[in-house]
Symmetry: C2
DNA sequence: AGGAACAGAATGAACGTTCAGTCCGAAACA
DNA sequence: TGTTTCGGACTGAACGTTCATTCTGTTCCT
């Protein structure tokens, strides 16, 4: 038994199972993640998983829930509602981008779960609600101060989210295309130029 | 037998199978697309599929190949190498965005296949090569004319691709968030502001 | 001892793939 | 022309595999 597994022995069993599932889905996708293999990686029997999760679908949904909470807390870390518009924009989306780049497993996992029918569109939107709240305020202020283009929030948010997500993804999947890690600052400058009035 | 099936009867059988597979994967994802159901939708027996494709994996790869060819030809439609930088940028990415928005099935399919391990990273890059060629020329010219920020091509392309892809996706999955279809022009203005020097 | 937690073999459903047989139009023959 | 033979495209039931889930006996703790 290796060091990683030793560590896991001491963790809460439910957490072990979630971790194992996350690793496997991130690496191979949802469909190549049989319960027997989850059990093996979590160092438990297959039956044990069903003491913590009713079905595989519920396990995956719980995983998604946990993941979005972690991501949201990263995005909001050090977020200062009283800072200026541009500072807040850079803080929020910089946190988002760095989280995605520094946690490739979570990024891949998020991608897999987002494309999976096990997670409903409703669950996805619910998960992002708190983040959207902060962004809505930010954009409303920015528009009223004539700092940000007068376009629907959805467009501004979706474009920013899409470009940063894709940058993190490409760097993970084709690292040879990016000799060194692309700094958040450079990307945020592009995003800011895109949306500034 | 309905009209659609009537039409399909006359199509090349191989094409029927590809179409049926495309519909099913786009709607439900790769894993909820059993060969028996492909056969049903293609109006043939399960065995017949194997006269045209060695395995399900090959079927999926052929589908991906065909899809990327169609997409590339849409992107390059009416592309005039002698037009000015901005016009070419708007032409190429406008074509891309409109194709994605007007062909939701193909968009969903592309998303599913891009997240699937049945398609290798190599195949994905090969497929996009011709498009990247045109973009590389465009960006080199743009940078030398000081019209475009002096950043690596990969960054500019990935950011643009990511934001437009996400816009098309969000409009398809959450149409209620966008009361009317978002015009390509508006989005391209954002993209251009992002990358212009 | 008694009960809760656990492991892993057993179960049955779903899937990709195969193959023995059917069908149909064209060629060969009368 | 009418009849027979042939070849290969097609079918779908059957097979073996893989998986989620359940079952049963064991271990661990109090």
């Amino acid at each position: 038994m290796n060091v990683q597994s030793e560590t896991r022995k001491n963790m809460d069993k439910r957490q072990q199972i979630l971790e194992a599932t996350a690793d496997l889905i991130a690496e191979q996708g949802l469909h190549s993640c049989p319960m027997a293999m989850v059990a093996k990686h979590a160092c438990c029997g297959a039956g044990t998983i069903y003491r913590y999760f009713e079905t595989k679908e519920e396990l995956v949904q719980q995983l998604f829930l946990h993941l979005t909470e972690v991501m949201a807390s990263h995005c909001m870390a050090g977020y200062d509602e009283s800072a200026c518009i541009k500072k807040r924009f850079y803080s929020f989306w910089g946190n988002f981008y760095r989280y995605m780049r520094e946690h490739p497993r979570d990024r891949a996992l998020m991608e897999q779960l987002s494309a999976s029918p096990a997670i409903s569109e409703l669950q996805r939107e619910k998960a992002l609600e708190p983040m959207n709240k902060a962004l809505t305020r930010l954009l409303a202020e920015g528009k009223s101060q004539m700092l940000i283009k007068d376009l629907p929030d959805e467009i501004i948010t979706t474009m920013t989210f899409g470009s940063l997500t894709m940058m993190a993804k490409k760097q993970q999947l084709s690292p040879q295309m990016f000799p060194q890690a692309v700094q958040a600052e450079d990307l945020l400058n592009l995003c800011w130029d895109a949306i500034k009035a």
